[in-house]
Symmetry: C2
Subunit: 191 residues, 2 copies
Amino acid sequence: MTRTTYHHGALRQALIDGAREILAEGGHEQFSLNEVARRAGVSTAAPYRHFSGKDELLAAVAEQGYATLHASLERASADTADVRERLLRLAGAYVRFAHDHPDLFVTMFRSWPGAAPVGHDSFEVLLQAVVDAQATALIPAKPSPELMARSIWATLHGLAVLSLRQPHQRFGMDEPPEDLATSTLSAMFGL
Amino acid sequence: MTRTTYHHGALRQALIDGAREILAEGGHEQFSLNEVARRAGVSTAAPYRHFSGKDELLAAVAEQGYATLHASLERASADTADVRERLLRLAGAYVRFAHDHPDLFVTMFRSWPGAAPVGHDSFEVLLQAVVDAQATALIPAKPSPELMARSIWATLHGLAVLSLRQPHQRFGMDEPPEDLATSTLSAMFGL
DNA sequence: AATGCTATGTTAGAGGCGTTCACATTGGAG
DNA sequence: CTCCAATGTGAACGCCTCTAACATAGCATT
């Protein structure tokens, strides 16, 4: 990316894009602010005009990641009337997202020094599905929807994290993400 | 740790201990091989006589972490005859471990470049509890014990990971680890 | 006991990264 | 048109990982 003008014009977004690109290439290890700057065709000091440092850039990347995840979940649950089907699709979409964007996923959910984005709107999507599932008696109505949704979220998240590990570290999680999610929810609720 | 002899004597373990110490102090961010060497009172090149690099040291730390986790789980389930109680204690111990040793926990379960230790023996402990729980009809006998145990492990792991995040990132997971585990398993199986 | 091999430690340095600071350029508001 | 604030550069600091050449000492064999 060689530039003719002194000013880049849209450096901030270019940096975020470059960062996502590196993560998408699986280069979580070799990720560096210098590398991001290089890809944007800019000096290593330039990013500091837009971000206070590496962490703030990664936070911005994570934020866009949350938006992407939310969109995936919405898409998965949008045109599915059947409650059971919708819950399973939602679950599959979550694990699928982690599987398709492993380094982005790790970046989103790593522990941050300061504040960091959340997945509130994504949680809402799951929560609504749980409310409906409880109304249909597909799953127990006993614990509150919030608690139930939280439990399911935890399950899906654990599933995603564990299935991302190296082959011999997996606990036999070699199936495609959707099957993994389905069989797990089935195990817990007998769906 | 100032030394009088030229040779350290037990540097390998001292490095692992130092690394665990730093992680225990919550210094996941400021963790460095140089810092570990410094604490052992040794030059920054010395660790390379015992480990091929930073990752191999962390792998060794992770390995000991798995042993510690396994011990915790054994202790939690050993003297508990009641099946339900045992399962809940086991679950609580898992989330408790993550809560008590957050950086060690993250180190254990981060994705590694090469091979890395697993938690097979820990899984066996959970598996046995699940077998017993299914035999008592405490939980459904439907999916195989392996699949059931895997699902529960995922749930606990997700719970652990998510509850470790910053306060406002938690999904209302402010209860002590044991309560978190208990209420979640209750939600799923109506225990 | 003396010798020498090898494990273990040291010093020096290359190359990379995150970050800061003084300085350069330029788009746009007045 | 002028000048300011925003945006980018170059150079430098300190820290990091890792390597290479060299120093010391534990130990096995004689």
